[in-house]
């Protein structure tokens, strides 16, 4: 059983006893620092705002996420895309850090035949119970963002969970911790005082593939959403590089 599974079973237990979801988890290790978990009665929606103006494409987030979870080669909870486009000398390159969007209407959840994945009431993070996961791969297929994968270690579905094991201890996610540009900002969208709420309120933000209706909770400031398909129509050079084995963007 993993750390999450334990929390998850606790959630099930809480549900069963009708106490509702608003119970601060008693963490496995004694908390020493500030906790970012929900105050009683508060339903959080954790979110990330990625200010692309500040992203220098350094890939520290990619590697921080890889080492935090020892993510096997070929699989990614997080990655960075680079969009290069233009005509010499008017050329731009813009970065698009990627991770699970912790969608409010997650396409990955309803397809699970084992009820092994759901969106948490208390903080809006979409989680997977590895014990229940039957590794059918339907959620991996269903996610329009390619955010999920079957982890070769253990064989179960996996993805970014906003580093819940850190967040519940009062720490920012690993990718946020290392971000050179402070481009990745993490917080609670249901708290109007949080930095993410303010950023979303003060800036025109975009989400990926809005048309799919998944309602992502990862917002981008100033992202370049161009993809090579655009080039065909505009007769323009557009190249999207990614550090994943999967070439085409989803």
């Amino acid at each position: 059983m993993t750390y999450h599974d334990r929390n998850i079973s606790r959630r099930d237990m809480v549900k069963a006893t009708g106490l509702g979801a608003a119970v601060a988890t008693t963490a496995v290790a004694a908390p020493k620092a500030a906790k970012a978990v929900a105050a009683p009665g508060h339903q959080a929606q954790y979110a990330m705002v990625i200010d692309v103006r500040k992203c220098i494409g350094c890939q520290a987030c990619t590697i921080a996420c890889k080492t935090e979870y020892e993510v096997p080669l070929g699989k990614h909870r997080s990655w960075v895309e680079a969009v290069e486009k233009g005509t010499y000398p008017d050329v731009s390159r813009s970065f698009r850090p990627r991770l699970c969007n912790q969608c409010s209407e997650p396409a990955c959840v309803p397809v699970c035949p084992a009820d092994a994945t759901w969106k948490r009431d208390e903080d809006g993070v979409v989680v997977i119970n590895k014990d229940d996961c039957i590794a059918c791969g339907r959620c991996v297929e269903a996610c329009p963002y390619d955010a999920r994968f079957l982890n070769p270690v253990g064989g179960k579905a996996d993805k970014c969970d906003f580093c819940l094991h850190r967040v519940e201890q009062g720490l920012v996610p690993s990718c946020v911790n290392t971000c050179q540009g402070k481009a990745r900002v993490f917080g609670d969208l249901n708290d109007p005082e949080s930095e993410v709420s303010k950023l979303v309120a003060d800036h025109p933000v975009t989400v990926l593939l809005q048309e799919t209706g998944t309602k992502p909770n990862v917002y981008y400031i100033d992202a370049d959403h161009a993809d090579p398909a655009d080039a065909r129509f505009a007769g323009q050079y557009v190249r999207v590089d990614t550090n994943r084995p999967v070439e085409e963007r989803r």
Partner: protein
């Protein structure tokens, strides 16, 4: 280890912890940014050990996290004033250096022919007995110089300790690696403002003008500089203009990318200076700063005379002329020149892209001139004299033998006139040449001589040849391309298992003291080479006076007043970093007025020609008379005796010289250059290879990617997963003339050889150039780098079977010659003329 106290401190540095009566307050606490980590599997807190990165030379303070005795995670040190707790991808991947299954864990002795890959494991005793036996014999024979030490990424406490060993042994036959890095920059600085290292004060700047620095991807002080720069341009709307051959990520984040023909940045800089002088834009801060400058042969010239000299010298370097050389439109040059002159302050930065080419040291001098005449030297927001920690440390035995040396560090005769950082890429050539002697024992440390230098085939041939190098020792945690050609491999620890203190430049202009601690005990039989030096010294009968590198670090902590006052070694072990919270950023160091006791001494004279005060005794002269008769400039090594310089009747600290005899003024006009028959003022000197270049020829340049260090990180699986292939960049217009399409196989041919690679056709590069990244094309360095296991290695890792990339790229150094900038000796990585054709 972080104790409770320091944890609380870290916690306190974060926004208020809002807990009352054990119940979380309604006001929700913001998460803290770092200093702790937890296992995602068990939820248990990981052990946190303050340390320091040693992937690249920046050496960021870090925290190692250990779980079940295994190093599992590295993060930035949140209390560092250099990094503010952030890290780059290379730093994050430090765990891969530790966990690489191809680590060498035991000493190995060659059994087959050299380079055949046949080895046997031996004990440390056997290894050191053989090695010290050979060294002892050389020493006894009175030829200690036949022990040559060739090092790469060595710095700070390792450098001090290992050099103490070499000095006490008696050899000064040392090769470094700076000429493959940024020697031209340092020489250029030593010729203008003395001791090298410029720090860029982005925190206070209003405009950044960049010549060839890819600071957002790689840099001598990468994370400390990069995270400040991006904050400055996004939070404060500071404009960044980048001149580069290629749209680097730095160029991409710039307000403007101005493409330039490789190796011609100096023409642009000179033309900007021309605009500033001819339009009188130097007035104000620039004019004020000219007071401290030497601009003519006469050190006592008036500012008016200096202005006139600059105008005369720069008259020919018009923007129109520069357009012809660099391809940058004249109007653009003038526009940016005006902008840099008006922005107060402006930070003018430069790096390898601009200086690793013919007369690169003069490019750095030109950039210094531009910063000087716009008044942007060593002031808030400008190009500053770097500050770092000044550690005190145990100096080792008092009586050292007089060291002897083979004169093979400065390149072939005539290679470079002022190689103040040596010509390391020609060391092997010099060994082959033999005219200045050859080492009997060649040892290399933290250095992939074969791979990192140009002319790879020649390097291999020389290192393989037992008649040229009878005994070759490689100190290395990994089996790299150089280790493969050694006779004896001593297994070093990766930096994750080393001690050390560090002193790297602080962009805050306030020194930061920090230490490295091992996260875990060395794996296998690995030993920090510093400890091996202590052991060898003992075996040869000249003990250094400390028993371990840890003890050396401990002693340094107790000897260094600032660190001692903070709590010494125990404090540093618990906290990792220390800076004086009351310290103010250091600027304008040259303006400091000296107290009369400093220069009204019996042993100090004023040089009438330069206005320099210098101590004749320190210069090893007999008397004031002798000093006056010989003169400051003509006395060898007189810079070591520098005291101060007179400006406007006041004696100031001035610009303290290093390595060459500088007056103490900021030298735009250089007597040293003139005496070496080089341009006294920063000038354009035509590039001989370009003159002979055919219209269809291209210019090959190289670059670094954000996710790899130059040559020692391809074994880090997560980094190589991000960057493992390096197709050559070609502008569509250039590619079209050669019938090359994106993804085509191509052949790149230089005077040194041919390279097969593929084309990446992109508008992100200037026409007429071809850019190939470093880092790729390894043929050793373990399975993640090359697909080849290291010999005698049994360890396995499941990820090795998951390597999904099929190309490992092509290494450009096979076709880049070990050609030196004739001034500094810098390897010319940016201006190789090549033919390119479809393969």
């Amino acid at each position: 280890m972080l104790d409770r106290r320091s944890l609380l401190k870290i916690g306190a540095a974060a926004p208020a912890v809002a807990v009352s009566g054990g119940v979380l307050n309604q006001v929700r606490a913001l998460p803290i940014s770092g200093g702790k980590d937890f296992s995602p599997i068990t939820g248990m807190e990981r052990k946190a050990i303050p340390s320091a990165c040693w992937q690249c030379v920046t050496r960021c303070p870090s925290i190692s996290y250990v779980e079940d005795g295994r190093l599992v995670k590295i993060e930035g040190q949140p209390n560092s004033i250099r990094t503010h707790g952030v890290m780059c991808s290379k730093g994050q991947a430090g765990v891969n250096q530790y966990s690489d299954p191809d680590r060498i864990l035991h000493p190995m002795r060659r059994v087959g022919p050299r380079g055949s890959g046949q080895w046997k494991r031996i004990s440390w005793d056997e290894a050191l007995e053989e090695l010290t036996g050979r060294l002892q014999k050389l020493r006894d024979d009175g030829t200690p110089e036949k022990f040559m030490f060739h090092y790469g990424r060595m710095k700070a406490s390792h450098s001090k300790l290992i050099n103490t060993f070499l000095a006490n042994y008696g050899t000064a036959s040392k090769g470094n690696h700076t000429a493959i890095c940024e020697a031209a920059k340092w020489t250029g600085q030593e010729l203008t403002w003395g001791k090298h290292y410029d720090n860029w004060d982005f925190d206070n700047t209003r405009f950044v003008l960049n010549f060839g620095s890819n600071v957002l991807e790689a840099h001598t002080n990468h994370v400390p500089s990069a995270h400040r720069l991006i904050a400055r341009i996004t939070d404060h709307n500071v404009r960044l203009v980048t001149f580069d051959v290629r749209l680097s990520n730095t160029a991409a984040k710039s307000s403007e990318w101005v493409p330039v023909v490789p190796g011609t940045d100096r023409a642009v800089v000179l033309a900007m200076c021309n605009v500033i002088m001819s339009e009188d834009l130097y007035k104000g801060d620039g004019e004020e700063f000219l007071k401290y400058c030497k601009v003519t042969a006469n050190n006592a010239a008036t500012v008016e005379e200096k202005v006139a000299a600059l105008k005369t010298h720069l008259a020919e370097y018009t923007p129109e002329w520069a357009e012809g050389v660099s391809g940058v439109p004249a109007g653009k040059i003038a526009e940016i020149a005006r902008e840099v002159a008006m922005a107060k302050p402006a930070c003018i930065i430069s790096y390898r892209g601009a200086v690793a080419s013919y007369h690169g040291a003069d490019t750095e001098r030109a950039v210094q001139m531009l910063a000087a005449i716009t008044g942007n030297i060593d002031q808030p927001g400008g190009r500053c004299k770097a500050v770092g920690a000044s550690w005190k440390y145990p100096k080792g035995p008092k009586d050292k033998p007089k060291a002897r040396k083979l004169k093979i560090a400065d390149g072939l005769p005539g290679a470079a006139k002022l190689p103040t950082h040596h010509v390391s890429h020609q060391v092997l050539k010099m060994i082959k040449d033999g005219s200045h002697g050859r080492p009997d024992v060649y040892m290399s440390y933290c250095y992939t001589a074969v791979y990192a230098n140009g002319d790879v085939q020649e390097n291999i041939d020389i290192l393989k040849d037992e008649s040229l190098i009878p005994f070759s020792v490689n100190v290395n945690p990994y089996y790299d391309e150089s280790a493969a050609l050694a006779d004896l491999i001593l297994p070093d620890t990766p930096f994750t298992e080393r001690w050390g203190w560090e002193d790297m430049v602080s962009p805050a202009q306030i020194p930061e003291y920090y230490i490295r601690q091992p996260a875990v005990k060395p794996l296998g039989e690995c030993r920090d080479f510093a400890d091996v030096c202590i052991d060898m010294a003992e075996r040869m009968g000249f003990p250094l006076g400390y028993k371990s590198h840890e003890e050396f670090v401990q002693a340094s902590c107790e000897m260094t007043p600032a660190v001692k006052a903070a709590g010494g070694f125990e404090y540093m072990k618990a906290n990792g970093v220390y800076h004086d919270p009351a310290a103010k950023p250091a600027f304008y160091s040259y303006k400091k007025v000296l107290s009369p006791e400093k220069y009204q001494k019996e042993t100090v004279v004023k040089d009438p020609q330069t206005g320099t005060y210098w101590d004749w005794k320190k210069a090893k002269l007999e008397s004031a008379e002798e000093a006056l008769a010989k003169g400051y400039l003509k006395t060898k090594g007189s810079y070591k005796a520098y005291v101060g310089v007179e400006v406007d009747g006041q004696v100031l600290s001035g610009f303290k010289p290093d390595k060459v005899n500088l007056s103490g003024l900021f030298e735009i006009y250089s007597d040293v250059m003139k005496d070496a028959d080089l341009p006294a003022m920063p000038s354009w000197t035509a590039i001989p290879e370009y003159e002979a270049k055919k219209p269809e020829d291209l210019i090959l340049t190289t670059y670094k990617h954000a996710a790899q260090i130059h040559s020692r990180s391809a074994n880090c699986k997560y980094l190589t997963e991000v960057f493992h292939d390096n197709p050559a960049w070609l502008n569509p217009e250039t590619a079209k003339t050669k019938g090359i399409a994106d993804g085509d196989a191509i052949k790149v041919i230089s005077a040194s050889g041919e390279l097969l690679t593929t084309a990446r056709v992109t508008p992100a590069i200037v026409p007429g150039a071809i850019a190939i990244a470093h880092h790729c094309g390894h043929w050793e360095y373990g399975r993640y780098a090359s697909g080849k296991k290291a010999p005698l290695v049994e360890a396995d890792e499941a990820d090795a079977d998951r390597i999904w990339w099929t190309s490992k790229g092509a290494h450009p150094n096979w076709i880049i010659g070990n050609r030196a900038d004739p001034i500094s000796g810098q390897l010319r990585f940016m201006d190789t003329v090549v033919k390119v054709e479809k393969a």
